[in-house]
Every structure is written in structure tokens, then in C-alpha cells.
Symmetry: C2
Subunit: 235 residues, 2 copies
Amino acid sequence: MTRTSSSSARVAVSTVIFTLRADADGAGLMLPLVRRTRDPYAARWALPGGWLDVAEGLDAAASRTLAETTGLAPSYLEQLYAFGDVDRSPTRVVSIVYWALLRQDEVDAQLAAHAEHGDAPDNVQWFDADALPDLAFDHAQIIAYALWRLRNKVGYSRIAHGLLPDEFTLADLREVYESILGRRLDPANFRRQAEASGTLIPTERFRTGSHRPARLYRYNRDVELAERGPLSASP
Amino acid sequence: MTRTSSSSARVAVSTVIFTLRADADGAGLMLPLVRRTRDPYAARWALPGGWLDVAEGLDAAASRTLAETTGLAPSYLEQLYAFGDVDRSPTRVVSIVYWALLRQDEVDAQLAAHAEHGDAPDNVQWFDADALPDLAFDHAQIIAYALWRLRNKVGYSRIAHGLLPDEFTLADLREVYESILGRRLDPANFRRQAEASGTLIPTERFRTGSHRPARLYRYNRDVELAERGPLSASP
DNA sequence: TCAAAAGTGTTCTGATTACACCCATGG
DNA sequence: CCATGGGTGTAATCAGAACACTTTTGA
């Protein structure tokens, strides 16, 4: 039934892409999955992805396959891990997995655009990261690892900005941290830490509407360098 | 001149493997390179590695190719990154790169064994990590990234034990940290931190020979769990 | 004027640092 | 008996947590 590929293994690229959706208790992490139409694990949910093309790099392949299967373009993209156990698929497949973040406003905009053109990818569905369905292949482990990396990295990196629009309040930023870490943070201490990090540029604009207006901040993109080490240079 | 492979890309596995060698100023990081015999970059130095076999997982392939090219078996092995730029090799190759640590006593033992049998792999040579020759492919960047990861990880993980024999003194352990980080550490404070980490089991044995005998410690392998997250389970 | 979020100040604690000091052994 | 590294004590400093408090708006 299965055809062994000529030389060693075929290379696939998949992406775990997170966004934050408003929730009863603040916000929760959501991610899109694709319902498989073909036979290994047909009708099961799987990570968006596809085969690596001969003429594209790994990062490019991740972006392309993500766009082709879900119509989404991430605001942050980073390689997660290469999975290559012999028995993870009926045929030998090495999957280079990426993980990504997407701002909620982008999700809405991109989905709205697709809906208007009638090309909404209807075998794509968003799931709560804490309530996933049965998954194809080893994708459950992969998502668990991606979640671990996200929660880990939010502590020492500034990736939280990948989930926010250009201008945001400190309460917005704090809510992102709280959602990812799954616990409340002290507003006073959070403010000081955020301000001391040097990654925030205060604007003269304020968000009004609720109670006392909150200052809007902007992300200083000049920082975050050296956070991924010498790898930032190559791609 | 170059033949495009049938489907997408071939998968190679390479390893950056570090050891510590006694030095004028304490100790220095060393790594073995292999002189290429075939044509892309023939006669240039490259990382030990080889092609992924259809019937083996990625970790197994790293161990196997490392043994085949250098005769070495690492005491610590971890996946580093997947490199897959289109132009990193004349033919399309995706390299799954691992990084590894090897105890100095193991190096000596393994090399001595090979020398005795006359099968010393003589196109293998050890280089100081700070004085590398011209390298094939993108291997210079890869090594730079591996060094960054090592220096980074030594701060929050207990991998330093991968460079030490079973029993060691606190001075031995401190020397490993100093070599990797490239700076001196306060012996008194280092002792307290190491003891507080819970990863050290004191023995009743002492190393004599110099001045006051130093207590020998042993590494508590039950710790270090969860340091790589959910990934520790799969391999 | 009052509820609630924005924002500031203060204290306490634990970890890190610097460095003075004592201990035990080989030469 | 002394130089040297092994090992202990202690005060200063710094970052984080906890929480009281003031400010500013919408309703």
C-alpha cells in the first residue's frame, strides 16, 4: 500500500500557530487545525503544513504551506524542532516544525477577507489550546512541545508583542502574559518590569472609553536582537 | 553539473561535539572536524555527519554517523537546529544538526583504543573552538550557533556534567563552567550555588594529591527532568 | 460621588556578589 | 612551617513579590 520513497525520507514542514481570543476569563490561546482529506489519518485533525519544495528554504516553506492551508500569515515565526522517528507516519517523513504567533486583529481581518471572497478554507477550524481533538500522527506531542516553548520563552523574551497590534496599553500586554502563563500578574510590578525592559516606547496617545485613560505604548523593534543568537543573521 | 534529486531534498545529519582539553589557562573547548574527501568542498574541514538512513530515527542517525566518522560516542546529545537554505550546498540538502558533549576521559580512552588497533581515523582532527580553520558549507555558522547554545544552556541547565567523569570535585565542576563561560567564578559562591541546586550527591571519598583533599561529588541523574520539556519523553 | 482601572511608593524577602577568614595537607 | 587550594561566614546589593495608596476617568 505504501510506497517507500526512493532515497531516504521525504521532508514536510508544519506550523503550530497561536493566537489569543477573548474569553470568559480574559483571553485564551487558540490554534487552527486542518481536517485531513487523504488517507493516513483521513478525517483527523492535523497541523497545517505540506511538502518542502526543492526551490525554497525551510522558513519560506513554512510560510507558504501555512498560507495555502489556512490563508494566514504570521507575525512571528520560529523553527521549533525536527521530528523524524521512523514510525511517526506509515511512510518515512521528517517534519520540520515551526511555531508562530498571529495578532488577533490580523486573524479577524484575514478571515473576513476570505469569507467575503467565498474562499473560506472550511476544513480549517480553531481550537482552544487546552481542549484539542484527536490529532493525526504525533501532532499532539508536537503541540504540547510548542506550548511549552511558548510559555517558557515568554519569560525571557519579548515575543508577547507578536500577539498585539502596533499600539497597546500595559493592561493589554499584561493580559497576553497572563493568558500565556495561566496566572494573574500584579499590575504594579508588571508595569515596572515592562518599563525597565527597554522594549517599550511610550506614545502621547491614550486609550479612553473605560475608566481612567491608559497610555498607549509601541514596541521597540531594535531590541530583541541577539535573543536567538547567531541565527538571527542567516534568514 | 549538479543533479537535482528526484523529489524534494536529501536529509543529512551532522553533529557539533565539544570536549574540554587542558590548557595554559585552565581548559579550552575543543571539537573534532573531518576533512572532506569528495567534491563539494573537497579537502575542506567539515562537521562529522552523514545521510539519514530510511530505517533509523534522527537521534540514532546522529549517533551512528558520529561513530562512523570519528569513532566517538557522546555523553550528551541534543538536537540543535534544522538547516535548509536552498543554496547551502550545490545539491539540495536539509541538515538536521545535533550538538553533543563528551567527557575528556572518554575522548582519551576512545582515541587510545583506535590508535592501538591502527584504525585511527586520520582525517579527523581536533580544533580549538576559538581557532577554527576554513569550513565547508555553512558549518562555520552552525558551530557558532552551537557554541551560543552551549554557553546559554550552561547557565540554566546542568549539562556541565556531560564533560566530567562520574566523580569530580567542585573545583573540577567550576573549571568546566569557567571554560565554557570564559570568565572566572568565585569559588565560595560557586560552591553554595552548586550545593543548593540539588543535583550533587556528596560521596565519602576525597581527591588527594595537591593540598587539602577535596570532596568528590557525584551527579544526581534524577534531576534534569523537565529541562527539555515534553521532548524528554519521545526519544 | 463612586466604582474601577491607571499609576506611584514602600516594605520585605531571597538570590547574587564581594571579600574576609579559617582549615588541612604536601612539600 | 608555609604556600595553596578547600571550605565557611557575613555584609552589601539587587530583583521580585506583596500591598497600601493616590489619580483620573465614565457613569
